[in-house]
């Protein structure tokens, strides 16, 4: 994570010098709530792990696992009581930093009035290293350039991030290949590692406000054994990636491969459904919508998520620049892995694997890249 662009000053190792251990997450949830945060964490809903507001740690999906493969997502029952025994869920943190829809301004007669952006104090519980990396990518898009977005900054600053170091990567995960995980190393207020036998959580502190929360809950200093066990969790997870991809030199070879026959092949399988872009934690493209009230006096303009897979995304003068599925898939993949560097100095992919899991035809970016390389 590039601290120079992050809106938060992360003081890794804050006032709590040592890692601590807690035996339950209930006091943490309570402390965050009394600090004025709505706590949003993973819950089971619609047959998937979804982010929702919780009032108690009991609402977390203990004992729930998942099976993720290309075009496949199923919840499973675990034979342990791990609270975070699953991989990336379809919801990423993106909707909290870049809302799916936000009102920009209203215009009436001669006046243009900005709409005060909502920046709720939310504590996100269970953010994975890949999603922290994705936030750092989005920070570059919305804060790093010549036109920083104050509304994004406010939302970002209002987020309290409780990371969880992945213990059980999914079948479509490849954060190790992208250098973003599985262990969260920066960009969080607190980072948990769930330990078994006995069941407990090791907490690392990443910011002053994180330290304040830790001070407010019952905890004990972590022993050398606790720290070693946490390191083992991350080491084991790193060895269990469902997928790998070699992106060495991708910035050169991918754009140069614009005529590769594989684009036709993948285009024949791609439905242009936009699922990959909707679940992607870094995809930032948006469009605008205008509505007018019934009187015609007040017009409102809003921004909403868009996808480069739609035809009108590239429309100029009545015709799309990228009229074929081939052109649109090539744009998405090439942007994500290569031209993102030119524009924002980083890869657009963090290896969370969501685009693979949620592709209805199971298109696997790691496979496409290895075929094109």
């Amino acid at each position: 994570m590039e601290g120079d662009i992050s809106p938060i000053v992360w003081s890794v190792r804050g006032t709590v010098e040592m890692d601590v251990v807690v035996w339950s997450l209930e006091p943490l949830v309570a402390a965050l709530r009394s600090a004025g945060y709505s706590v949003v964490g993973p819950t089971v809903k619609d047959g998937a792990v979804r982010l929702a507001e919780i009032s108690s740690a009991a609402e977390l999906p203990a004992g729930t696992g998942d099976a993720q493969e290309p075009g496949h997502y199923r919840l499973t029952e675990r034979d342990d009581d791990l609270v975070f025994g699953f991989a990336a869920s379809p919801d990423s943190a993106k909707r909290f930093t870049q809302p799916p829809r936000q009102t920009l301004f209203r215009m009436r007669d001669r006046e243009i009035e900005e709409v005060e952006p909502e920046a709720p104090r939310v504590a996100l519980l269970g953010v994975r290293a890949c999603d922290l990396a994705a936030m750092a990518v989005q920070d570059r898009v919305f804060l790093g350039g010549r036109h920083p977005d104050p509304a994004y900054r406010r939302r970002r600053e209002a987020l309290f991030l409780v990371a969880v170091n992945c213990a059980v990567p999914g079948g479509t995960c490849f954060c190790v290949s992208m250098g973003t995980g599985p262990k969260a190393t920066a960009g969080f207020d607190l980072a948990l590692t769930e330990l078994a036998a006995p069941h407990r959580f090791l907490i690392e502190t990443g910011s002053e406000r994180g330290a304040e929360i830790v001070t407010a809950i019952p905890h004990q200093a972590a022993t050398g054994d606790d720290v070693a066990a946490a390191e083992e969790v991350s080491r084991t997870a790193a060895g269990r990636m469902g997928r790998t991809v070699d992106t060495a030199g991708v910035q050169e070879w991918l754009p140069a491969a614009h005529d590769h026959p594989r684009w036709d092949d993948v285009a024949s399988r791609c439905l242009a459904c936009t699922n990959c872009t909707m679940v992607c934690p870094t995809c930032f493209c948006s469009t605008v919508e205008d509505v007018t009230d019934l009187s015609g006096e007040v017009a409102e303009r809003s921004e909403r998520w868009d996808s480069c897979f739609t035809l009108d995304f590239s429309e100029v003068g009545g015709a799309p620049v990228r009229g074929s599925q081939r052109g649109r898939y090539r744009q998405w993949l090439t942007h994500k892995f290569a031209t993102w560097f030119d524009q924002f100095g980083t890869s657009g992919c963090v290896g969370c694997g969501r685009c693979i899991t949620w592709c209805p035809t199971g298109i696997d970016v790691t496979e496409e890249l290895s075929c094109i390389r």
Partner: protein, 272 residues
């Protein structure tokens, strides 16, 4: 302030240019009209209809932008229908500029296709302002029909008063038309310039720019001195909507003005 919030601008004057084209002079209701460089664009918002990027085609004093707009879509139609005193939203200016002074001491070719003459009007303005710094200046203009030709009176003035060789070609002649018919590249034979000591400013549809730029380079104009103004779908103008990508470029930030040296390889890839 959010980067996508416009400021209210009043339509100070509205001049119909052609059947479907209007030139608007827009001035801020309050506050300054930020300075612009030739080639830059603004985002213009028609209340309740939408917002489009429009190249600035001139400066009006005191503090106003001149925009020539052709009614082709919902927003441009709404803007063309505005009347004097109406209020629209404007933000910008954005994007890269034509470096006209880099052509000092050289012959200059200005090539316009259709509405592409509108942004090039600021280039002509710069050339005229310092006419003696430049060598021969040839302005070649391609237009659909004689009636869609932009700025006919100004074209005549540029030719008569400022020593600019102005040549016009049309796709579809009418009975009164006595000039050449066909593609604008044909006009490169009608103007005089020394290719190796020339700079070119080109704006028009992609296909026209590709043809003109390739022809100029073939004649010996260095690719780095052939400069284009590119157009892609654009929703934000500030590098956050993703719509205006051309390979590695975000044309709202890295364009619209891009050298052919940079753009040639990108424009050669279909559907990039």
């Amino acid at each position: 302030m959010h980067p996508m919030t416009p400021a209210p601008y009043r339509v100070r004057s509205r001049r119909p240019d052609r059947a479907d084209t209007v030139t608007l002079t827009l001035e801020p209701l309050g506050g300054p009209c930020p300075p612009f460089l030739p080639g830059q664009f603004t985002m213009i918002y028609a209340r309740g209809v939408g917002e489009i990027p429009v190249s600035i085609s001139g400066r009006a004093r005191p503090g106003a932008y001149v925009h020539t707009i052709r009614a082709v879509g919902a927003v441009s139609r709404a803007l063309c229908r505005t009347r004097r005193g109406d209020v629209v939203g404007v933000r910008g200016p954005y994007g890269t500029a034509w470096d006209v002074s880099a052509a000092a001491g050289l012959d200059v070719v200005v090539a316009a296709g259709g509405l592409g003459l509108a942004p090039l009007r600021t280039v002509i303005g710069e050339l005229i302002a310092h006419r003696s710094r430049y060598g021969r200046i040839g302005l070649i203009v391609g237009t659909r029909t004689p009636l869609t030709l932009l700025y006919p009176r100004e074209l005549a003035r540029w030719r008569d008063a400022h020593d600019i060789d102005v040549q016009v070609i049309v796709d579809h002649p009418d009975q009164a038309w006595k000039g050449p018919v066909g593609l604008v590249t044909r006009l490169l034979d009608r103007i005089v310039f020394e290719p190796r000591r020339s700079a070119a400013f080109v704006c028009g549809p992609d296909v026209m720019m590709r043809a003109v730029a390739a022809d100029l380079v073939r004649r010996g104009v260095p690719a780095g001195r052939v400069v284009l103004s590119l157009e892609r779908n654009m929703k934000c103008g500030v590098g956050r909507c993703g719509h205006c990508q051309l390979g590695p470029l975000l044309l709202c930030l890295d364009g619209p003005v891009v050298s052919y040296e940079r753009a040639a390889g990108l424009l050669a890839v279909k559907e990039l």
